[in-house]
C-alpha cells in the first residue's frame, strides 16, 4: 500500500521536476520560451521514458513506456520542423510497431518470466559501454564543425511528396518490396504448424 503510494509520489515529484527545470532555466535565461521549452520537455520525456523502457521490470509497462517515448520523439520532430515525419512516427511506431510488440508480449508472456532476473549479469558492463558510447557521440558531435548549417528549415509537405515520388521513387519501391518480403517471411515463421504446439 505504502509502496504504491511512494511510487506515485515519486512519479509526481519527477514530473514536477521535469516541468520545473525548464521553467527555471527559462527564468535564468538559458532557454527561450516556445520551441526551446517544448524541445527540452520532449527531450526529458524521451530520455526518461527511454530509461524506463530499458529498466522496468514489467515488460508490459516497458512497452507502454516505449509508446510514451515514441510520442515524445514525434513532438521533437514537430519542433525540428518535420511534421510529416512526426505524423509518420505516430502512425508507424505508435500505431503499428508498438501494438505489434504489445501483442508479441502477450503471446510470449509466461508466468515465471517477470519474477526472474530482468537484467543480465553483465548489466554493469553494459551500462559502462553505453555511457562511453554516449560520451563518444556527444564529444564527437560537440567538437565537429557541421558544414553548411543554417536555420532550422520547415519542410513543406508538398515538396516532400514531390521529392518522394520523383527523386526517391526507387527507394520507395524497394521499401515496399522489403515490406512484402518481411510480411511473407513473417507470416511463414509465425504461422503455427499443423498439429504442433499451442
Amino acid at each position: 500500500m505504502s509502496r504504491s503510494l511512494l511510487t506515485i509520489l515519486a512519479t509526481v515529484g519527477l514530473l514536477g521536476l521535469a516541468v520545473a527545470v525548464p521553467i527555471g532555466l527559462v527564468l535564468l535565461g538559458a532557454l527561450r520560451w516556445g520551441d526551446d521549452v517544448l524541445f527540452f520537455i520532449f527531450a526529458e520525456v524521451l530520455i526518461g521514458a527511454g530509461l524506463l523502457v530499458v529498466t522496468m521490470r514489467d515488460i508490459i509497462r516497458c512497452g507502454l513506456a516505449m509508446i510514451v517515448c515514441f510520442g515524445a520523439l514525434a513532438g521533437i520532430y514537430v519542433v525540428a520542423g518535420a511534421p510529416l515525419v512526426a505524423a509518420a512516427q505516430v502512425l508507424v511506431y505508435i500505431g503499428a510497431i508498438s501494438v505489434l510488440i504489445l501483442f508479441a508480449i502477450m503471446l510470449t508472456e509466461t508466468k515465471d518470466a517477470p519474477t526472474r532476473l530482468v537484467f543480465q549479469t553483465q548489466s554493469i558492463g553494459a551500462a559502462m559501454a553505453a555511457v562511453v558510447l554516449a560520451v563518444i557521440v556527444a564529444l564527437a558531435v560537440g567538437v565537429t564543425d557541421w558544414p553548411a548549417v543554417g536555420e532550422r528549415i520547415h519542410t513543406a509537405t508538398d515538396t516532400l511528396a514531390e521529392v518522394l515520388f520523383n527523386e526517391y521513387v526507387l527507394p520507395f519501391e524497394i521499401v515496399s518490396v522489403l515490406l512484402l518480403a518481411a510480411v511473407i517471411g513473417g507470416v511463414f515463421l509465425a504461422k503455427r504448424e499443423e498439429g504442433s504446439g499451442p
Binding site: D35, D36, F39, A43, I47, G50, L51, V53, V54, I59, C62, M66, L73, Y77, V79, A80, A82, V85, A88, Q89, Y93, I97, L100, I101, A104, I105, L107, T108, T110, A113, R116, V118, F119, Q120, Q122, S123, A129, A130, L133, A134, V137, A138, V141, G142, W146, A148, V149, T155, T159, V163, L164, P171, F172, V175, L179, A181, A182, V187, L189, S196
Partner: protein
C-alpha cells in the same frame, strides 16, 4: 537550444546509448527488440535533425526518416515472428537461455 543541431544529435546519441544499454542488459527477447527500436529511433532523430539544419538535405531528411521507419517496421515484423517461432520451441522469451550452440 532547439536551434542547435548539436542538441539534437546529442539527444540522438543519448537515445542510442540507452537503446544499447537495453540491448546489452535485458534478457527478454522483446525487451531487446524494443531496445533496437529505440536505437533506430535515435538514428531517425539524427537524420531528421540533419534534414532540418542542412539546407541541401532539407527534403531528403524527412523522406529518409520515413523510409527508415518502414524498414524498422519490417524488421519488427520479422523479429517478432522469429521470437514467436522460438518461443514455441523453447517456451521462454529469455534470450540468454538460448545457448544450445556455443564455442
Amino acid at each position: 537550444m532547439s536551434d542547435s543541431l548539436d542538441a539534437y544529435l546529442v539527444l540522438a546519441g543519448l537515445l542510442f546509448a540507452i537503446g544499447t544499454f537495453g540491448f546489452l542488459a535485458r534478457r527478454n527477447a522483446i525487451s531487446m527488440l524494443m531496445s533496437i527500436e529505440l536505437m533506430l529511433n535515435a538514428v531517425n532523430l539524427a537524420i531528421v535533425a540533419f534534414g532540418s539544419f542542412i539546407p541541401s538535405l532539407s527534403a531528403d531528411g524527412s523522406v529518409i526518416a520515413i523510409m527508415v521507419m518502414a524498414v524498422a517496421a519490417a524488421e519488427a515484423t520479422v523479429g517478432l515472428s522469429i521470437v514467436i517461432a522460438i518461443f514455441r520451441n523453447r517456451k521462454t522469451p529469455l534470450v540468454d537461455e538460448y545457448d544450445a550452440m556455443r564455442q
